[in-house]
């Protein structure tokens, strides 16, 4: 098949995916979903021996699909913990603070807006081989300077920690805004009718804030799947992620642009599919952030 036929095919699918709902009110969602499934098909087609990801596979880095699922797992873990941490903060900001609420909100969010790289650097100061934690251990004689505790800085755990550190301040905002719009009279009515605070929270506040919470989850999950900087600085071997595999095909050791392109398009399709199929929530949260 000549390359341009393939190009036109892909372009048509992308257009279908993006413009689907506008082309047809009724079937828009189906056009979009169908287009994306078709886009993903070459990567995942059965028999497994022939699909693109397998073709792209390299023995040194193992199974790309497995690597991809590891990235998804790490992104999921980060996103769930981020929401668990961000929710009480947003709740406290929305309902617990009466005076200068927005100043506190700004204090919480400001770190998100300053450089990402520096926040990773800051953790390296604490957890690195020559970092605070290890030097304390050397000082106390618990560890030999030639043999620092390095799983602290090069591991899956640290990648997730840094991702949390980076994203929690940001996702407080959509949760906060969702909580702020909860009508307080509903809760008063519920308490008047004898509901406990916990019941009122479960039956009223949480369902009303759900779109904000889902948006918050997606705000962490979607960018984390393709994360590159964090794992390459603090990931080590066991925190190696899909984004790094892509980069290594272009500038790193593996150096195979074709493989890298296949992996990139795969990641792109997954991320776009996620973003478009959840755009309702993203818009609710994103509209709130502007």
């Amino acid at each position: 098949m000549p390359a341009w036929v393939l190009g036109v095919f892909f372009a048509a699918l992308v257009i279908g995916a993006v413009f689907g709902p506008q082309l047809s009110e009724r079937y828009g969602g189906w056009i979009r979903t169908g287009a994306f499934l078709l886009l993903l098909a070459p990567f995942l087609t059965i028999p497994a021996g022939n699909n693109l990801l397998r073709v792209a596979e390299l023995s040194s880095e193992g199974d790309f699909l497995r690597l991809f699922f590891r990235s998804v797992t790490m992104a999921t873990t980060s996103a769930i913990w981020a929401v668990i941490i961000a929710f009480p903060i947003a709740y406290f900001l929305a309902f617990g603070i009466k005076k200068s609420k927005y100043i506190w909100l700004l204090i919480v969010i400001a770190p998100f807006l300053t450089s990402y790289l520096l926040r990773i650097f800051a953790w390296k100061i604490i957890l690195g081989d020559q970092g605070l934690f290890n030097s304390a251990l050397f000082e106390l004689g618990l560890r030999d300077p030639d043999n620092p505790v390095s799983f602290l800085i090069y591991s899956q755990f640290t990648v997730i920690l840094v991702l949390l550190y980076a994203w929690v301040p940001f996702i407080i905002l959509p949760i906060f805004i969702a909580l702020e719009s909860v009508d307080r009279r509903l809760l008063e009515a519920a308490t008047d009718m004898g509901a406990s605070r916990l019941q009122a929270m479960r039956k009223i506040t949480l369902p009303l804030a759900a779109p904000g919470i889902v948006a918050a989850f997606l705000f962490v999950f979607i960018p984390s799947i393709g994360e590159y900087v964090t794992p390459s600085l603090v990931g080590g071997n066991n925190g190696y992620m899909f984004g790094q595999a892509i980069a290594s095909q272009f500038v790193g050791g593996a150096l195979n642009w074709q493989t890298g392109s296949v992996l990139s398009i795969f990641l792109l399709c997954v991320v776009l599919f996620l973003a478009l199929s959840t755009s309702r929530f993203l818009r609710a949260g994103g509209g709130a952030t502007t």
Binding site: V18, F19, P21, I85, P88, I89, Y91, F92, L93, F95, G96, V108, A110, L113, T114, S115, Y116, L117, L118, R119, I120, F121, A122, K124, I125, I126, G128, Q130, L132, S135, A136, E139, Y165, V168, P169, R184, L187, E188, A190, I222, P223, I225, E227, Y228, V229, L233, I246, A247, F250, V251, W257, S261, S264, L267, L268, L272, L276, S279, T289, T290
Partner: protein, 279 residues
């Protein structure tokens, strides 16, 4: 809280626990950065307590380092270019989206916001393929110009998100009145629209500048012999040996971007009030 009204959201103890959690979170949030700043002034290359003394020698060493200085200047250039071009494009696009009836308006804005979800590593490698030195598809040499283009793509959605709501909120009748009084399209834009969106415009310039000056992934694929500031920091961190020269670099960047972001927040809040008055 006055007597008689019970807090429907949390009990007294619950509030105390939440406050404690909040305080702990603030420590978690700020302590690493504060430690970084403290150790950039510590008179020792070893990162450990107790502190050994105050020094600014790392700062002067970093300042005299030609590599750091070059990277800083390169970053400032790229960021300034990004701020101007991305904001200009965003004004045009937002104006069209807010005022003209376009087909596929939602699709166009979806495409505009796309760079927000495209993983930066994918964006980086695709630009690398586009500009590749051997047989380029678009004949722009790798280097700072290529980085500039990448950063414009990344910054554009942020600028549109800042500008579009402001432009859309301007009362159409103001422009119509200007037009009826004989002002040309350009004059109307310059005398009516521009003053009203000025705060959002400034915020957009600042945000695009900060986005660019902090961006490392796309830049790391596109730089040639002259690194940008974040790329320099990134490669320094990867090699992970000496951090004492990097800490002043990082501190300066933290302080500068914090100030800029606060300025943008203040300006855009002021702008909201102004547009509110104009309505």
């Amino acid at each position: 809280m006055s007597r008689g009204t019970t807090d429907v959201f949390m009990s007294r103890n619950g509030k105390r626990m939440l406050a404690l959690f909040f305080a702990g979170f603030l420590v978690f949030l700020y302590l690493p950065t504060i430690l970084l700043i403290i150790f950039s002034f510590n008179a020792s290359t070893v990162i450990a307590f107790p502190l050994t003394g105050f020094t600014t020698s790392f700062y002067s060493a970093a300042w005299q380092n030609p590599e750091i200085k070059g990277a800083l200047i390169a970053s400032l250039k790229v960021a300034a270019g990004t701020a101007v071009v991305a904001t200009a494009l965003a004004v045009l696009v937002s104006y069209a989206l807010a005022r003209k009836s376009l087909r596929f308006k939602a699709g166009v804005s979806a495409l505009l916001l796309l760079p927000l979800v495209v993983p930066t590593v994918v964006l980086g490698v695709s630009l690398l393929v586009l500009f590749r030195p051997s047989d380029p598809i678009i004949p722009i040499p790798l280097g700072l110009w290529a980085v500039l283009i990448g950063h414009i793509v990344i910054a554009l959605p942020f600028c549109v998100l800042l500008l579009l709501p402001r432009i859309a909120s301007i009362d159409k009748r103001l422009e119509e009145a200007a037009h009826d009084l004989g002002a040309s399209g350009l004059t109307t834009f310059r005398r009516v629209v521009l003053p009203l969106i000025l705060p959002a415009l400034l915020a957009s310039l600042i945000v695009a500048f900060v986005v660019s000056i902090d961006e490392v992934v796309v830049a790391s694929f596109l730089v040639q012999d002259q690194a940008t500031y974040p790329v320099y920091l990134y490669s320094g961190l990867r090699l992970s040996g000496q951090t004492s020269l990097l800490m002043p670099v990082a501190t300066v960047m933290i302080v500068a971007s914090t100030i800029l972001i606060l300025a943008a927040a203040l300006i855009s809040r002021y702008g909201e009030r102004r547009v509110g008055l104009a309505r």
